[in-house]
């Protein structure tokens, strides 16, 4: 990995009414405009209304990273009661910025300044007063605070002004003016009065021009992947955190002559998706755990009738309705094993926003090429977090990726489920006069006629399983990848989904401490790339599998496939995994704990 020159993490915390998320938004968009790489993730309250806690965290770097830093550099408190528990996130000599004269009275003991660790720097700023002076109203105190932080770091002022203008572009011009005024007042305060002395915010190392990189969430990247792959139909039912996929597609698809329908439930959504796939369309649906559970039966029909279908599943805290606004990685089991019968399907789990786009696009190719449902497993953290992404100039996704019947045997009856060497049978869709057939959820022979003889069932079961192995070599997608030290290592990390970002970060920090280690990300969870995983595990004295579920679903999967035990590192906090905790696990696995203590 290249070294990262600029690496600043800014947290903003307040209640839902304080405009917390709004200024976080301006911050990340301004920095992306200025050519920095950004990763950002917001915490929302579960309630629709009210004064629940919001936290907007943004990490700004010169090379793209895929996790938050273990410690925040600057925390802005817009509401001390909410922010107090987050003070401990701030690094030593990091800054905590708070309103020195807030609007509401704060009881004794509820001032954040009383809750800092020695070494953390308190910056009491009269946000309200500055806002009033600059705009005539105290309402822009969030923008003042943002300007202050920008000033402290001497971040490019114009990028912020542009971002503010963009944000309020549908409003009256005065709104932008007043907000810019508030921003400037904050900026000047930060730059002139409090300005940081020795902070390193260098210019972006490889300065990307505006629009070279796009900042978007995982769900937005999924949508772009769908559109780039030429999605033709989408059927969905709203559910957090997948809804925004449908909401964006609802705006975009009709522009491209594609059809979207909000169905009456998830069973209908997957059924229509399978129907459309049967009819030859690129078809997808998106949901979260509860909806995916309802899709279990129809997924099996897709497997049996060999129908392409793409299913995006964004995980949230479970089980059951669980924690709709919290993240978790506990739907691996149902994604891989959730069908009755031998119902193997392809499961992809991207690890970052760019991967969401790529997996989405390739999922359509795979569904068509291997004639099967493909699950793309996201999670709330990945669906909702922002990253800057650079897309290739040329749309890489292949249309019409499937083998059609040739006219060679036009006189023979068409064998829709012909037994072939690679298990893939030429597929015709309605409208083709030479491919008339009936597909069925019953076991069937090569013609598709119901048939439950032992030999036929075995051959067809084998076909449905073995054809999927080709997906492990599908072009243009990383199925697995190793990072860090090559050859034998003391500690190996195996991770999937969004948690790979934190895993990578922890691995790099451990290497910096002198621990020999490596990390492998596994993007395809089914079929599992068993051989490369085995090879990697052979290199590792200890293997840690960090994941956000209770029992270690991926660890069980890997262990069952390779017959070797691993160290399960599990957290069910509803939050992304803490880099520090993974790091500690690496240290203790490496037996380095003592070493480190004596050195400190």
């Amino acid at each position: 990995m290249t070294s990262i020159h600029t690496d600043v993490q800014i947290g903003i915390c307040g209640s839902a009414g304080d405009g917390t998320i709004a200024v976080g938004d301006i911050l990340k968009r301004a920095m992306a405009r200025a050519g920095y790489r950004v990763i950002a993730f917001d915490e929302y309250p579960a309630e629709i209304r009210g004064f629940g806690k919001c936290v907007a965290r943004t990490r700004i770097t010169t090379e793209q990273v895929y996790s938050m830093k273990p410690k925040t550099d600057v925390l802005v408190s817009l509401n001390d009661a909410h922010a107090i528990p987050h003070a401990e996130e701030v690094r030593d000599f990091g800054a905590v910025i708070y309103d020195s004269a807030p609007i509401t009275m704060i009881d004794e003991g509820w001032h954040i300044s009383g809750h800092l660790n020695p070494g953390q720097l308190p910056y009491g700023l009269p946000m309200r007063e500055i806002s009033e002076q600059a705009t005539g109203s105290s309402r822009s105190r969030n923008i003042v605070a943002l300007g202050f932080v920008a000033g402290l770091y001497q971040l490019p002022r114009q990028a912020f002004i542009d971002a503010i203008a963009a944000k309020f572009q549908t409003k009256a011009a005065e709104v932008t003016q007043s907000n810019v005024a508030a921003f400037n007042a904050g900026y000047d305060n930060g730059a002139e009065i409090y300005r940081f002395d020795k902070v390193e915010v260098g210019p972006p190392a490889r300065r990307t021009r505006v629009h070279d990189s796009t900042m978007m969430t995982g769900n937005a990247a999924v949508v772009r992947g769908c559109l780039d792959a030429g999605i033709e139909t989408f059927f969905g039912y709203p559910i957090t955190p997948a809804t925004s996929i449908m909401e964006r597609l609802a705006v975009e698809m009709p522009k491209h002559g594609a059809r979207l329908l909000q169905t009456e439930d998830e069973i209908s959504a997957i059924s229509a998706t399978v129907g459309a796939g049967f009819a030859g369309a690129r078809a997808a649906t998106a949901t979260s755990g509860p909806g995916f559970a309802l899709m279990s039966e129809m997924m099996g029909l897709g497997v049996m009738a060999e129908v392409p279908a793409v299913v995006f599943v964004s995980q949230r805290g479970g089980p059951s309705t669980g924690m709709p606004t919290k993240t978790e990685q506990a739907d691996l089991n149902i994604a891989v094993f959730g069908g009755h019968g031998d119902a193997k399907r392809i499961v992809l789990a991207p690890t970052n926003v760019e991967g969401c786009w790529r997996c989405a696009g390739r999922a359509f190719e795979m569904a068509e090429a291997y004639q099967t449902p493909v699950v793309v497993l996201l999670d709330l953290y990945l669906s909702n977090r922002y990253e800057t992404v650079v897309f290739p100039n040329k749309n890489p996704f292949v249309r019409d990726a499937w083998k059609r019947p040739t006219q060679d045997n036009a006189n023979e009856p068409y064998r829709r489920f012909e037994l072939t060497a690679d298990g893939i049978s030429p597929r015709a869709v309605p409208g083709d006069p030479h491919g008339i057939h009936t597909a069925t959820g019953l076991e069937h022979n090569e013609f598709g006629r119901p048939n439950d003889l032992s030999a036929m069932h075995f051959q067809m079961t084998e076909k449905r399983h073995e054809k999927l192995n080709a997906a492990l070599k599908h072009p243009g997608i990383t199925i697995y990848k190793r990072f860090g030290d090559t050859g034998e290592v003391d500690v190996g990390l195996l991770a999937w989904g969004s948690t790979f970002g934190e895993t990578l970060e922890a691995m790099l920090l451990a290497r910096a401490e002198g621990i020999r280690c490596a990390a492998m990300k596994v993007v395809m969870l089914s079929p599992l790339p068993v051989k490369p995983i085995k090879r990697f595990l052979k290199d590792c004295k200890e293997v840690i599998v960090p994941e956000l579920n209770y029992e270690g679903q991926f660890a069980n999967l890997v262990s069952g496939a390779v017959g070797r035990d691993v160290i399960r590192f599990n957290r069910v906090t509803g939050k992304p995994m803490a880099v520090n905790e993974i790091l500690d696990t690496i240290r203790s696995a490496a037996g380095k704990r003592k070493l480190r203590k004596s050195a400190a």
Partner: protein
């Protein structure tokens, strides 16, 4: 003599080959019980497709699970034998993917009104241009005779051994209340009329629901038999106004003397029209559809 050997229709049906109907029948001989109403339905669909003159490859027959399951296998068209209760959403998906196809759904009372009941209102209100042929035998045939949502009160089955006491549903009233744009009823004991109704249902642009009263000769010897139905089935009154939904509902309430014929028809935009309208408003234009390229 080998039991695995398929039995070909050809030997049996030479005499009707001239009609062209056989072009819509596959070479598999139906496996329903002798006398079952599904035979009339098969004949009706074949006749209707032939009369309308649809190309085999442009027709998709969708079945769920029940004795209708195997229906598509007996037809020389595309077919999708799906899951219990999921015919309508699958058919919607097919139609949304390619609205040039003629999509015919066949299914039983359990498939439609028990497990699949949640889908019907939405296909009806959206006016998805498919034809739904519902075979109502008032029992679960394929699973060998359990009570169904249209079983009569007092009917004894393996799961209602002390008689059924639940009020049966009134499918025609339900469909009319859902806003279905074509609602009719036929009787398997009147195969000629049944075939005519099937043709009309397929020709209707929009969602058409045809309720077919059909005895299960194997598992219902007491209630919905040909004998009983022959007595009770009547025609809709001559002056029935099939553009009047309330009049149709009134007729549908007369369950003791079920009337066959067209209860209600209306022309309104189909789901395809709606989706085109959305595209136009979005500034896009309807693209080539799947399977067309």
């Amino acid at each position: 003599m080998s039991p695995e050997h398929p039995i070909y229709l050809e030997d049996k049906l030479e005499e009707i080959r001239g009609s062209g109907r056989l072009g819509y029948r596959s070479k598999s001989l139906p496996t329903w019980c002798p006398g079952c109403g599904y035979y009339s339905m098969t004949e009706g669909v074949t006749w209707a497709l032939n009369e309308i003159g649809l190309r085999n490859e442009d027709v998709v027959i969708v079945s769920g699970i029940g004795c209708a399951s195997r229906f598509p296998f007996f037809m020389e068209t595309y077919g999708f034998h799906t899951l219990h209760g999921r015919t309508l959403p699958v058919a919607t998906g097919i139609k949304v993917a390619n609205d040039k196809l003629t999509v015919v759904v066949v299914g039983g009372d359990g498939d439609g009104f028990a497990i699949g009941g949640g889908h019907i209102p939405h296909v009806a209100r959206r006016n998805v241009d498919i034809t739904y042929l519902l075979f109502d035998n008032g029992i679960y045939g394929l699973t060998k005779g359990q009570v169904s949502p249209t079983s009569a009160i007092g009917f004894t089955t393996s799961t209602s051994p002390f008689e059924n006491h639940d009020q049966p549903l009134n499918p025609l009233m339900m469909l009319l209340s859902y806003g279905a744009s074509w609602v009719g009823q036929a009787y398997a004991g009147q195969p000629g009329h049944l075939a005519e109704m099937i043709r009309a249902a397929i020709k209707h642009r929009g969602f058409s629901y045809l309720h077919i009263l059909s005895p299960c000769v194997t598992f219902d010897k007491t209630d919905r038999t040909y004998r009983n139905l022959d007595f009770s089935v009547r025609n809709l009154p001559e002056d029935h106004d099939h553009s009047n939904r309330l009049a149709a509902i009134r007729e549908a309430t007369k369950v003791d003397r079920p009337a066959v014929g067209l209860y209600y028809v209306e022309n309104r935009p189909t789901l395809s029209d709606t989706l085109d309208e959305v595209m136009i408003r979005a500034g896009g234009k309807p693209a080539e559809q799947a399977g067309a390229g």
